[in-house]
């Protein structure tokens, strides 16, 4: 099977977010593979091991993202592609990213494309379905189980807690929900091998993309932090009295009962 996994480099979930000059401060921040993309990579590797074929991981970004691609290779992906937009694009939105990814994938004859269902930074969850639509292939989002048999796929999709069992066929794009699998940590031999695996770097020119064709359709005009939540009241006294007081406060002060 010819398998692709879409990967995004994101802030570590441990990171606090700070804003300066209208931008998120990323100096000194730790970066990781978007956690939902890790499920996608893991599933891709497992499917390759079961059915044969090759796993290629793709990302869009600057050369810093090489680190996350190497991690994916160390997990077991075979090849990596970095589409470096640093010199060409100042701003991107989901339209931009999907168009570039689809342009790369359009002649690759992918059997299966996996992505995270959402990135924990931008949080829109658009790129997967957009790419599928641009490629004219089917897609299923937020999956928690995937079985492939020949060109048929049996999928369990999480729908706000309910589970749908779905049958469809390849070629297909799926987006991973938590619970799909348990992503492996790269092993030491895996890390050594990853250094020798192919990592191709492309720019928009290599894909015959003109900057105007991928100009974002939306624009972020401001980034701000939510007002800091002040610590409230820790109640005191006998536990039974505390509970009485709490219910009274919820009823009369907060008016949420």
């Amino acid at each position: 099977m010819n398998i692709y996994a879409l990967v995004k480099r994101t802030f570590d979930t441990e990171e606090k977010i700070a804003v300066a000059n209208g931008k998120i401060v990323d100096d000194g921040a730790e970066f990781i593979i978007n956690p939902y993309d890790e499920y996608a990579i893991e599933e891709a590797i497992q499917l390759r091991d079961e059915h044969g074929g090759e796993v290629t991981v793709i990302t869009i970004g600057d050369e810093e993202a090489e680190k996350q691609l190497r991690t994916a290779l160390a997990m077991g992906a075979d090849k990596a592609v970095l589409i470096n937009t640093e010199d060409d694009l100042d701003e991107m939105d989901e339209y931009t990213v999907a168009k570039i990814v689809a342009e790369y994938l359009k002649d690759k004859d992918a059997d299966l494309i996996l992505a995270g269902n959402v990135a924990i930074d931008g949080g829109s969850g658009q790129v997967g379905p957009r790419v599928a639509e641009l490629l004219g292939i089917n897609y299923v989002t937020t999956i928690t189980n995937l079985e492939i048999d020949g060109t048929s796929a049996k999928i369990v999709r999480d729908v706000e807690g309910d589970s749908e069992t779905i049958e469809t066929s390849l070629p297909l794009l799926v987006t991973a929900q938590q619970g799909l699998n348990e992503p492996r940590y790269p092993s030491l031999p895996g890390i050594m091998k990853a250094k020798k695996k192919p990592l191709e770097e492309l720019e928009l020119d290599d894909l015959d993309i003109d900057e105007d064709d991928v100009e974002p359709k939306t624009e972020t005009v401001e980034i701000f932090l939510p007002p800091a939540k002040e610590a409230g009241r820790v109640l005191e006294g006998d536990l039974a009295d505390q509970v009485k007081e709490l219910v009274d406060l919820l009823n009369k002060e907060a008016k949420v009962l």
Binding site: F11, K16, I17, I24, D93, E94, Y95, A98, I120, D121, G123, S124, G125, Q126, V127, P129, R130, E133, L134, N138, Y139, T142, D158, V159, E160, G161, S163, E164, T165, I166, T168, S169, Q178, G179, P216, K217, T218, E219, T220, V221, E222, I223, F224, L225, P226, K229, A231, G232, R233, V234, L239, A240, V243, L246, V247, L249, L250, A254, V256, L257
Partner: protein
């Protein structure tokens, strides 16, 4: 300039979801006085049209077909596009629900347009509107401007207030016949796991448990409290990782982001990833044995104590209040 706005309504278990009414209110904000058209898609949805009008839609278009009984991106996509071509709206609004998240990027891609997802507030009106949406799971927010002729956004449930229901409002409901063909996905089975039918992302009250709940059985008092308050049960990653509950209940930076009116955190220490998923709730109650637990830093009200003592007492107290 006034805009004609098309709002995709969404039904669950035969009733319209609140987010549909919230989307109508959002439509009024951006329409600049233009017409607000509701769209309902399913196998039997005509009876729901009236309620969309009562909540502010000027008229409603329905598409019914046996193949639309279950949501599929192909089926709903075909239905939506047929109505889009007929109505030619200047703005489109979806709920940012499981199905809205699934369908909206496909439609945006088909139309070659932008899409502002998961909007929690709208600043300004008409053409000048800016759309506020959380990034980094609510650790920060951004204001986004649309640069295209077509405005397309989805709204997060529970954030934009619906208009008051007006039973006296009337409007036209028309049906469009669409041939739904070539569905590439077949829904074989749907297993309802969510308790009592209250969806976590739309619930007004969330009772969430962490490692302190200690077992799957430990969630029972939380479920009882949630049911009493008409709310839903959630969990921290710790509780999910320990197999006390399903991952679909997880709240946090991975997992769901919720903004209920009341969030009760029981036995949750308050890791930064969890706080990202709930700290924008309107009122937060923390119950934890550890007085140093991080969760108390964001809680409006805190009780230092054992949740297995506190929750049953709360249930009794709330019952008393409710009967009075």
């Amino acid at each position: 300039m006034s805009k004609k706005v098309l709002v995709l309504g969404e039904a669950r278990e035969g009733a319209l979801r609140n987010v549909s009414f919230e989307a109508i209110a959002a439509a009024k904000t951006v329409s600049g006085g233009g017409e607000v058209v509701g769209l309902l898609v399913g196998d039997a949805v005509q009876s729901l049209a009236e309620e969309m009008i009562q909540y502010g839609a000027d008229r409603v278009v329905t598409v019914e077909h046996p193949h639309l009984k279950h949501y599929t991106s192909d089926g709903y996509g075909q239905a939506f596009m047929a109505v889009y071509e007929q109505e030619k709206p200047e703005a489109v609004i979806f709920g940012h629900t499981a199905n809205g998240k699934d369908l909206s990027p496909k439609i945006a891609s088909k139309l070659g347009t932008g899409l502002i997802s998961d909007v929690t507030a709208i600043e300004g009106e008409g053409d000048d509107a800016l759309f506020v949406r959380p990034i980094y799971s609510g650790k920060a927010f951004e204001k986004v401007k649309n640069k295209e002729d077509l405005l397309f956004f989805s709204i997060r449930p529970n954030n934009i207030a619906p208009l008051e229901k007006d039973a006296g409002r009337s409007g036209e409901a028309t049906s469009v016949s669409v041939d739904i063909t070539n569905l590439r996905t077949i829904i074989k089975d749907v297993v309802r796991k969510s308790t009592e039918g209250v969806d976590l992302s739309e619930a007004k009250v969330v009772v969430a448990g962490g490692r302190g709940v200690k077992s799957a059985d430990g969630f029972k008092p939380l479920e009882e409290l949630a049911n009493l308050l008409g709310g839903a049960v959630g969990a921290s990653r710790g509780a999910c990782d320990a197999d006390y509950c399903d991952y679909s209940l997880q709240i946090g930076q991975t997992g769901k982001v919720v903004t209920p009116d009341l969030y009760i955190a029981a036995g949750i220490s308050g890791a930064i990833q969890h706080m990202a998923g709930m700290s924008n709730s309107k009122v937060i109650v923390a119950i934890n044995k550890d007085p140093e637990a991080n969760i108390f830093k964001v809680a409006d009200y805190g009780i230092v104590g054992d949740l297995f003592e506190v929750i049953p007492m709360m249930i009794e107290e709330i019952k008393k209040v409710k009967t009075n």
